[in-house]
Assembly symmetry: C2
Homo-oligomer: 328 residues x 2
């Protein structure tokens, strides 16, 4: 069916070994030979059979992106963005990508698919035992948007702290002084980072971060709206609310609307993630933008480095930006 190395060998008049070398390491054959081989290959539409190659090399050049998250996975816009970037970047390399959920993956453990993977990018709140298992099977691991103390893994993070700083300082600059934060049950790492950053930066500016209880609601708009409605009904209501992400912030916007508060006059609202939601609501939502494309690319690059035995920085932090819109 498809041309094989034998066909090329015959047509070009060199041995199959030389054809093989020509394709896997062109510098190891003489110029003129290389040319002959490539010409023959061209004519025959030959390109190496990856399966046969994988078999003899005992390598698959296959990596995986696992989203460690119970509910919505790729449906979470944030992961969808990272995923897209990882897809693109991997396509450019000569490695192959399989995308899956941590739970699906664990379930299918022992599958051929599963065993062929030489490296994984773990997104979200990966479990330590999962990482240990990969390491014991000598599968390279890179963490994205998470870190795991005690493990020697490269990780790629967005600057949560810096993002919160941008948001808080923006609100302060707009004259807001009583700023509340509403958090939600998302990835513990993310919540921890953003929440601590909030406390720290408020304090730094001499503001009382403890003036309002930092509410921990379910990660849904409705839950956030209810919580916000309560918060905004207090006589000492805040003049600004920082949502730990855009969904929460959208809930705050809803609450404001229901209570007849004008945004941003009576209340400024800022979100985090800069997702599509921001443009859908009225007024549009100010939010901290995370460079998901870059995170994805760096994740792939780190994994490739690891797989190629190259040096690899343990932590990479991607800067955040503030996108100012109508809500503040």
């Amino acid at each position: 069916m498809n041309a094989t190395i034998y066909d090329v060998s015959r047509l070009s008049g060199v041995s199959t070994a030389t054809v093989s070398r020509t394709f896997s390491d062109p510098d190891r054959v003489r110029d003129s030979t290389r040319q002959k081989v490539f010409e023959a290959a061209e004519i025959l539409h030959y390109s190496p059979n990856a399966i046969a190659r994988a078999m003899v090399r005992q390598r698959t050049d296959k990596i995986a992106f696992l989203i460690c998250k119970k509910d919505a996975t790729i449906l979470d816009e944030f992961y969808a963005r990272i995923c897209e970037s990882i897809m693109r970047r991997t396509m450019q390399s000569d490695r192959q990508l399989v995308i899956s959920t941590a739970s699906d993956w664990a379930q299918a453990a022992g599958t051929a698919q599963n065993k062929q993977v030489e490296g994984v990018i773990l997104g979200g709140s990966a479990q330590a035992d999962m990482v240990s298992e990969f390491q014991s099977k000598r599968v390279a691991v890179v963490l994205v948007n998470n870190r795991m103390p005690g493990f020697d893994l490269p990780c790629v993070l967005s600057d949560e702290y810096g993002g919160i700083r941008l948001a808080v300082e923006h609100l302060i600059q707009r004259g807001r002084r009583s700023i509340a934060m509403i958090a939600g049950r998302f990835s513990p790492y993310i919540v921890g980072e953003r929440y601590n950053a909030f406390l720290q930066i408020m304090e730094e500016h001499g503001l009382d971060a403890g003036a309002y209880p930092v509410a921990m609601c379910d990660p849904t708009v409705e839950s956030a709206a209810r919580m916000a409605q309560e918060l905004l009904s207090r006589k000492d209501r805040p003049d600004a609310v920082l949502g730990i992400n855009d969904v929460i912030a959208a809930g705050v916007l809803k609450a404001a609307l229901r209570l007849g508060l004008k945004v941003p006059d009576d209340l400024a609202v800022v979100g985090f993630d800069d997702s599509t939601i921001c443009g859908m609501v009225e007024p549009e939502l100010t939010s901290v933008h995370i460079n998901c494309r870059l995170i994805g690319e760096l994740g792939v690059d780190r994994l490739h480095a690891l797989l190629n035995g190259e040096e690899c920085p343990p932590v990479t932090v991607v800067p955040a930006e503030l996108r100012i819109r109508g809500s503040s």
Copy 2:
């Protein structure tokens, strides 16, 4: 490193051929033999090497999901949903999935990756020449959310017509009579279906679908908002607007808010797709729900059928549902 078929053969005392049979078609060996083999395999942690198998079988069991869309791909929630379902379904089978964009794919044509795929699910507005090319390479093709007259391909569609009917009849039931539609430059197939359905169903109910120009805006909220603002400023403004999808409907909601119109009292708004947006806006958006999970699963099933040489219905239509919320 890993146990091979030889190890199992030796430990269980049968030939490698029998071990092979035991794994690829258990019914073809005697009960007692099968047991012996599985026991030995268990002990050795053996499982067939997919690469070696692929090599001799000359099959890869690899399929692809290609999203045919210029801009946002997996970032489009609709495709993300279908994609997720396809991922899950494929995981359950013994085939492997690669996900890509039509453009990325075309660009990387001739790659090993690319050549290994035995079947593709094409989502969105696939080009005829792409399909022809696949067919000429004897790659099985299934269409999802699109159809291509003149090609003999199974396709899985959602019931656009039925969805629009649900939406329009719901509005009529709510007492609305002057209903306008706002469309946008999305996939020509989708726009065509939904638009024609609108005209037809309006007429069926003796309503004038031509009372308002069916606007064709850019597929962004802002563009929709502008268009809606114009439409809603007419002295004979409609009492209901049907957005061709949720983004457009969100734009209508924005316009209403800006003009001080009360939704749903002054204006009912209905969207299509039932995306996350629906819950983010205030009031929440009534929308036509599409069963993306089912579409994805059926897509995979059809492709598997094709690949297995089984009979396969040419067209499968998945019913739509209306999710009624505050905006109507």
